[in-house]
């Protein structure tokens, strides 16, 4: 059906299509926005070093917490493992644990580790002063490297928690990508 104002109709359609496209891009723009929002508000702070407060180093010697270490890789030919499976420490007591990573491939690769914790609320009580996960790691072909993570579990951890797990997963960064910040 031909209408007198079909030109106006087509113009309107174009406007609406552009709007649709903008909203599609907006969906993707929500991803960096979400990350920025979490960073600014301090939610989900996994990859920032914490500052050791000297005055607040009370150690709860009454109890022990078993910390289990876990390591995974995702989609890259690296071998990644902690040098100790677990550690028994007092809350408030700083500890350094070494991880070893080996690039089994014949090319230089860049990767970064992302931590996850169990129980999930451990991130509120875990302070990391140093961690290989803060930066990207560049490994030459067949390079083997040992890297530390230094942390303290604060005495504020609920007393019914006796075992916690800290897990790292290495994944590949594309060439030239900057460090993932969360």
């Amino acid at each position: 059906m031909v209408n007198g104002n079909s030109k106006a109709n087509v113009l309107m359609m174009k406007k609406l299509l552009v709007f649709t496209l903008i909203m599609f891009v907006f969906g993707y723009a929500l991803v960096p926005f979400y990350e920025k929002f979490c960073e600014v508000t301090g939610i989900n702070n996994l990859l920032k070093p914490d500052v050791l407060v000297k005055d607040n180093n009370w150690v709860d010697e009454e109890r022990f917490v078993t910390v289990e270490f876990d390591a995974n890789t995702r989609g890259l030919p690296w071998q990644f493992k902690p040098l100790q499976r677990s550690a028994r420490i007092h809350p408030g007591e700083p500890i350094t644990v070494m991880y070893e990573i080996a690039n089994n491939s014949e090319r230089e690769m860049i990767g970064q580790a992302i931590p996850s914790y169990s129980p999930r609320f451990l991130d509120k009580h875990l302070k990391k002063f140093e961690c290989f996960c803060f930066t990207k790691q560049v490994l030459k072909p067949n390079e083997v490297r040992q890297m530390p993570v230094q942390f303290v579990i604060e005495p504020g951890l609920p007393t019914d928690i006796h075992t916690v797990t800290i897990s790292y997963t290495f994944f590949e960064l594309p060439d030239g990508a900057s460090t993932i910040k969360k």
Binding site: F19, T20, M23, G27, Y28, T41, Q112, R120
Partner: protein, 528 residues
């Protein structure tokens, strides 16, 4: 179409219409397309309903009898997806196709060919959804909200679902563009925006909501797809992504979607109530403003679906307050409908019964919604049958009842024949009874702690589940009566006069013969 009279027949000759199946495949007529949308959505409604009956049959007794847990999960997932994207939304688009041009005095939709396309896209999408049951690994089983990590781990069925959602989204967007352009550019002379019938207004706002959020959904499922197959890590925590972010983006689409499914039904009810009360709609302008208000507010409340997903208290309070404020414009609407009926000369034909049933039950669903909006309560009832009861009260006795009201109200204009009033009323009362039997008891189940999406349950839930299952089968069978009433009406109903309803005032009743001719308003009517 043997019974078509000379006038319409002449038209068919003029336009060289293909006959038989090709007529329907190639048609660009808004009435044909509207009819196809409605039949399609009814077929999908029966498909989704069959899945629901499978779920209820399994839940009839505790223990696993009929569906293994994997298949049960596929049933709940596909029931939700088919009902939301295959039944309710296309049904409203079908109503828009039929009614928007008739109500604003336009000859057809603005882009007739695109209209045809947006309908026929639905068929492959529905085929993808339904056939996903038969691929290795079965259909998607992670719930209709397809949260990762389940949706990034599932098999081929999830891919089919993702493509189906893509296609359905494209269809909806094209449909909305068509509707917006038609409403804004093709109104008859004198039909100013503020004279438009309420149904047209609600659809205009709904269509804007659709082009606002449907592309976001398309983006979300694209991210899922690339996470699954192209190594991206939008939602994979191990790769630096965040599964909670999926929930945020999904519900940024999902909550306006809820209003996409209810605003057009507000429109239908706002047409039916004044007609059968023989009074103009009380507070027309308030209704328009309230609709706009609901649409805007719906965009800032999404996270009330995720109170238990991990959120700071400040966030929880914000979304709780914003959600509760939506009750204000919704309350204005309910007040206006009631005030329209006040001192009207009411009669209770089937459309009116469904409209009143809508108001009554939708208010119950609205109130349980306000209860769910309260954070401490929501943490208790999250993912229980209380939530199931809540959204079936707004989607079944809300959207679906309004669709029935609209179908009974306009079928005389569409077919030129009256439906059987006794059977129509029977359909209403049976639906009303069985609906409440099915879903009211689910409030109790939810408060007692029965979780959703689980095929088995504790013995203490047995009685209410049995009642609910009996109600569900009754409700399902009742809808076959609706099918019979409609077919009976199309084939052998009594001839309907031009204006079978006393109080009808919109253009399709006052300016067009019954049945509405194949080409209507080729010369636009003049609206005073």
């Amino acid at each position: 179409m043997a019974a078509v009279h000379g006038d319409a027949h002449g038209h068919e000759h003029d336009d060289h219409h293909p006959s038989g199946i090709m007529r329907w495949i190639t048609t660009t007529n808004h009435k044909d397309i509207g009819t196809m949308y409605l039949w399609f959505s009814f077929a999908m409604f029966l498909t989704g309903g069959t899945l629901a009956l499978g779920i209820r049959a399994e839940l009839f007794q505790p223990g696993i009898q009929i569906l293994q847990p994997e298949l049960f999960n596929q049933f709940t997932t596909l029931h939700g997806l088919i009902m939301v994207f295959g039944a309710i939304m296309p049904a409203f688009v079908g109503f828009a196709n039929w009614q928007v041009p008739l109500m604003i005095g336009a000859p057809d939709m603005a882009f007739a060919r695109m209209n045809n396309w947006s309908f026929w896209l639905l068929i492959p999408a529905a085929t993808l959804l339904v056939s996903s049951f038969f691929v290795p690994g079965g259909a998607a089983a992670g719930g209709w909200t397809f949260y990762p990590p389940l949706s990034t781990q599932g098999g081929l069925g999830v891919d089919l679902m993702i493509f189906a959602v893509h296609i359905l989204g494209a269809s909806s967007i094209m449909g909305s563009i068509n509707i917006i352009t038609t409403i804004l550019n093709m109104r008859a002379p004198g039909m100013t925006l503020m004279k438009m019938p309420m149904f047209v207004w609600t659809w205009l706002i709904t269509a804007y909501l659709l082009v606002l959020v449907m592309p976001v959904l398309a983006g979300t499922v694209t991210m899922l797809l690339t996470d699954r197959h192209f190594g991206t890590s939008f939602f994979n925590a191990a790769g630096g992504g965040d599964p909670v972010m999926f929930q945020h983006i999904f519900w940024f689409f999902g909550h306006p979607e809820v209003y996409i499914m209810i605003l057009p039904s507000f429109g239908i009810v706002s047409e039916v109530i004044p007609t059968f009360s023989r009074k103009p709609l009380f507070g027309y302008s308030s209704m328009v403003y309230a609709t706009a208000s609901i649409a805007i507010l719906s965009c800032v409340v999404w996270a009330h679906h995720m109170f238990t997903a991990g959120m700071p208290t400040v966030g929880q309070l914000f979304f709780m307050y914003a959600t509760m404020l939506i009750a204000v414009p919704t309350g204005v609407k309910v007040f206006n409908w009631t005030a329209t009926m006040w001192r009207g000369s009411m009669t209770f034909e089937t459309p009116m019964l469904f409209a009143i049933g809508f108001i009554f039950l939708f208010v119950i669903g609205g109130f349980s919604g306000v209860i769910c909006a309260i954070v401490p309560i929501d943490i208790q009832v999250q993912d229980t049958y209380y939530v199931i009861a809540h959204f079936h009260y707004v989607l079944v006795s809300g959207s679906l009842f309004a669709l029935f009201a609209g179908a009974y109200y306009w079928i005389p204009k569409w077919t030129g024949r009256m439906y059987n009033e006794t059977l129509g009323k029977t359909h209403f009362w049976l639906s009303m009874f069985f609906f409440n039997l099915t879903f009211f008891v689910q409030h109790f189940l939810g408060l007692a702690g029965m979780p959703r999406r689980i095929p088995d349950y504790n013995l203490q839930f047995a009685d209410f589940n049995m009642i609910s299952s009996i109600g569900a089968f009754g409700f399902g069978l009742t809808q076959l009566l609706f099918l019979y009433v409609m077919i009976n009406c199309i084939r052998s109903g009594e001839k309907a006069p031009q204006k079978p309803w006393d109080g009808a005032t919109t253009l399709e009743w006052t300016h067009l013969p019954t049945p509405a001719p194949y080409h209507s308003f080729e010369k636009p009517p003049v609206v005073q």
